[in-house]
């Protein structure tokens, strides 16, 4: 075993027990009693703000009332009818910005109803038992291709299958799940939950999943369009933006998404190397996930360097505090200018109203690893109109090409969240269904 102070990049900075404890569930599951107590706090608001705040529009007061009346499976049904990935969303949604952030008890007492954990309680009861709760409509004979088995693709495929269509799903990576499987901090989706949820979702039937197949490699949009009655693209954002500074192709510079993916797939976290000094560039959820997990692996000093102020940060205040509570240092108004010799030079920034500029003042931090978490880019090339670096869509995910829909991170509109992707996948499925059956 090494230690947090071992120089350079090293594995095994903390022992296995410590690592296991650190990567345990961030929000442990509620037991029946705790769920009852939490459910009793819901006021069953009229036209509830939490529902409005949920991209998938789950009838939250109803499902919480169902928990409180002892019908957790009915509660789960309420959730899953709106959001088939309600189990994962219960774990990874930034509820502080969505349902819980708008809860009237947040206004009243600064302590919202624990909607996320209640949703997990309800969905866990259904996911942990045999059988799939939804049945398929009679087969329509229509075939739809879904490219990308992430949240958008899965939601779309499930809804289409439920409506009686036959779905063929193509996934570029070795496993389905998208960012649920490869992104997102490990402590938010423990126990291989992402994989279990996909298995459960496919239990509806009518969906064939093939992994290792990607657009641009062995799939072409033209062929799909010819072979299927409709195509849905939920391919995510494959590329990671470069820093565009001196030294950004150096050994210690890596992309945070790749780091998280490697971590999520690692069978032994004590074997995963991490720097003694880690600097994460960016301000979103990925930056926080990468920084906190670096710290949990045993990095001695971890810093998030963000070019704007705290309020502009993509990560919620809750996520910022989570990072800070793990000992991650948050630096605001700094941008990287050079990486060299195990150190990164950051320049302070200011915005005088004409745009963000360096002030000329700099600081240098030791950095065995520099992680880029400054956004991802669309890597697909399918002859579709791209707008703002995403696939342009109108309505429920209609691209500029008839018969092709898109949703999730690759498509224009909405935040890059699991829950948003689910909503877009579901809505596109309904639109495809209407198109195929009109």
């Amino acid at each position: 075993m090494t230690s947090p102070t071992a120089p350079g990049i090293a594995a095994g900075r903390l022992d296995a027990d410590r690592i296991a404890a650190s990567f345990a569930d961030l929000h442990p599951a509620l037991d029946a009693h705790a769920a009852q107590v939490a459910a009793d706090r819901c006021y069953f608001c009229y036209d509830a703000p939490c529902v409005t705040a949920c991209p998938t529009g789950i009838d939250i007061p109803l499902f919480i009332r169902q928990i409180s009346t002892g019908t957790a499976e009915a509660a789960a049904r309420t959730i899953l009818e709106a959001n088939i990935l309600g189990g994962m969303c219960a774990r990874v949604c930034p509820t502080e910005d969505l349902c819980e952030g708008s809860c009237v008890r947040e206004a009243a007492e600064g302590k919202p109803v624990e909607i996320g954990r209640l949703q997990r309680y309800a969905t866990d009861t259904v996911l942990s038992r045999q059988g799939h709760p939804f049945v398929r409509a009679p087969q329509t004979g229509r075939k739809v291709a879904v490219v990308g088995a992430g949240p958008a693709g899965l939601a779309c495929a499930h809804r289409l299958a439920m409506l009686g269509h036959t779905v063929e799903m193509f996934e570029a990576r070795a496993k389905p799940g998208g960012l649920n499987e490869y992104g997102i901090a490990a402590y938010k989706a423990t126990d291989a939950f992402a994989a279990k949820e996909v298995d459960w979702l496919l239990g509806i039937g009518g969906i064939t999943l093939t992994t290792g197949r990607a657009l641009g490699a062995d799939l072409s949009l033209d062929a799909l369009a010819a072979d299927f009655d409709a195509v849905f693209l939920g391919v995510g954002l494959g590329g990671v933006n470069a820093l565009g500074i001196d030294g950004d192709d150096g050994d210690g510079v890596l992309d945070a998404v790749g780091f998280i993916a490697e971590l999520r797939q690692a069978s032994d976290l004590t074997a995963l190397p991490v720097g003694r000094n880690v600097v994460v560039i960016g301000g979103g959820m990925t930056a926080v996930d990468a920084a906190v997990q670096s710290k949990l692996l045993g990095a001695e000093h971890v810093t998030i360097a963000y070019r704007r102020d705290r309020g502009a940060m993509g990560a919620s205040r809750y996520e910022q505090d989570l990072a800070a509570s793990h000992g991650v240092r948050l630096l605001f108004n700094v941008m990287p200018v050079a990486v060299a010799d195990g150190a990164i030079t950051l320049e302070y920034t200011a915005d005088d109203g004409t745009g963000l500029r360096g002030t000329g003042e700099t600081m240098t931090l030791a950095a065995d690893q520099v992680m880029r978490a400054i956004g991802q880019t669309l890597t697909m090339d399918g002859g579709l109109t791209v707008e703002g670096r995403k696939i342009a869509v109108t309505g429920a995910g209609r691209t500029t090409r008839p018969g092709i829909w898109a949703g999730g991170d690759c498509a224009l509109g909405g935040d890059d969240l699991t829950v948003t992707a689910v909503a877009q996948g579901r809505d596109a499925a309904m639109d495809i269904h209407a198109h195929l059956t009109h």
Binding site: D40, Y43, C45, V104, A107, A108
Partner: protein, 434 residues
């Protein structure tokens, strides 16, 4: 500092909080703990006649109704009177009374409806030096099937007869405990008074089935697949109890008859309300059974603080003050006009007032796109439902319209003059206004 000392029928106790005759007062051990915890008095659990004691079921005796967070709102029981030998109870009563001379100790009694039975037990109770007796004419389960308890309490003639026997054969105060399982509480109260009762206490428990087990299809509490109605008590019965207390307090025939108030007293406020309606003291059971004897500490401190705030030096200063304001519907002032008012600073935008008003009432609350809720005075009949469903206390209030203002709902000018149904033009039997 308010003086909580209470004189009820000449029986002094350091505070008006007595434990009602019930499981918590079944034996010396419990009663000593109660006194140590600060209870002003105890009504010992009902004694039966000499002989083999009654037996209780060996399965569940209680059923419950819950509010949010499993807060116990109502309790039902099928426990009978004491199942310990009379001699043991009498010895313990004498011993406890000797050790706690400053606390009230009343003995509850239930023996067959024969004079001999009462003549046999009363001298023995007197020997204990207890401060008085309470006649249990209330228990609705078990004993009632044997012609006792509420079987007596439902027949005013029996109440009067037994009360008279007791007054003739016992020298200390006789309190008659009334059952609410009757149509008109004034009749048994009047009967008790006619029989010479020094006071009535009410209410005893209400016939009830608290829940049905949907697996075994039996009422709860369930004994080997069967259930029976039990006696309902706790916070849920307080409104029923207070109405019955008020009926007795304001009836010309029973006005002035001392009352010991029972029924869901859980906090100082509950006690103050019962006492304002004419009770000289209160008896408590479910609150103690839910929270333990220490709960009396809040009751005493709370009542004391409130009395200080109001300037009441002793409990008798406020007993009965609300009685003159209990009236019949026909005498309510129909010229009084109020409107709901929502305090926007306190509103948390849950919209429950809107749902209640829009779906089930008068469509008198407007909702804006940004979830601001405001009362539409032209529709509001001041029904109070919005106040009742609002989760924030005092966020919605009922504001009386001043005289001279025009009620936008009726177009009429509000007048300060009092006018009730008896003179209303829509009343076919109205007496002509002068």
């Amino acid at each position: 500092m308010a003086d909580l000392t209470t004189d009820f029928l000449g029986i002094r106790s350091p505070n008006p909080f007595w434990l009602a005759s019930a499981p918590p007062t079944d034996k010396e051990y419990n009663v000593r703990r109660a006194y140590e915890a600060g209870w002003g008095g105890v009504v010992w659990k009902t004694l039966g006649a000499e002989g083999p004691p009654v037996v209780n079921v060996n399965g569940p005796r209680y059923g419950a109704i819950y509010g949010a967070d499993r807060r116990l709102l109502g309790l039902n029981n099928i426990e009978l009177i004491t199942d310990r030998p009379l001699e043991v109870n009498l010895e313990e009563i004498a011993r406890v009374k000797a050790d706690y001379p400053d606390r009230a100790l009343i003995v509850s009694l239930m023996v067959p409806c024969e004079e001999a039975a009462w003549k046999a037990i009363l001298p023995r109770v007197e020997e204990t030096n207890a401060d008085g007796i309470e006649l249990n004419f209330g228990c609705p389960h078990g004993m009632a099937e044997r012609g006792m308890g509420s079987a007596v309490g439902q027949v005013p003639e029996y109440i009067e007869m037994v009360t008279r026997w007791c007054k003739e054969n016992y020298d200390r105060p006789v309190i008659v405990k009334l059952t609410p399982n009757i149509a008109d509480i004034r009749k048994p109260a009047q009967a008790a008074k006619n029989g010479g009762a020094d006071a009535v206490s009410l209410i005893n428990t209400i016939n009830s089935i608290t829940s049905v087990n949907l697996d075994s299809m039996s009422p709860e509490p369930m004994i080997d697949g069967k259930g029976t109605h039990g006696g309902y008590c706790g916070p849920a019965v307080k409104p029923i109890a207070m109405n019955m207390v008020a009926e007795i307090a304001r009836d010309p025939g029973t006005r002035g008859l001392p009352i010991s108030g029972i029924g869901g007293v859980t906090t100082w406020r509950d006690a103050a309300e019962f006492m304002a309606l004419g009770c000289g003291n209160v008896q408590v059971c479910t609150a103690a059974m839910t929270y333990g004897f220490h709960v009396v500490a809040e009751m005493k401190a709370g009542l004391s603080q409130w009395m200080d705030e109001k300037g009441y030096a002793r409990t008798s200063d406020f007993v009965g003050l609300a009685v003159p304001n209990v009236t019949d519907w026909q005498y309510l002032n129909l010229n009084y006009v109020a409107k709901a008012k929502i305090n926007q600073d306190d509103c948390i935008s849950c919209g429950r007032c809107y749902a209640a008003c829009e779906d089930t009432s008068h469509q008198a609350i407007a909702m804006s796109a940004d979830r601001k809720f405001t009362v539409i005075d032209a529709e509001c009949v001041a029904c109070n439902l919005c106040v009742d469903v609002c989760p924030v206390a005092d966020c919605i209030t009922m504001e009386a319209m001043p005289a001279g203002a025009t009620d936008p709902r009726t177009g009429k000018v509000v007048t300060r003059e009092y006018a009730n149904w008896t003179t209303h033009p829509n009343n076919p039997g109205a007496v002509a206004a002068e």
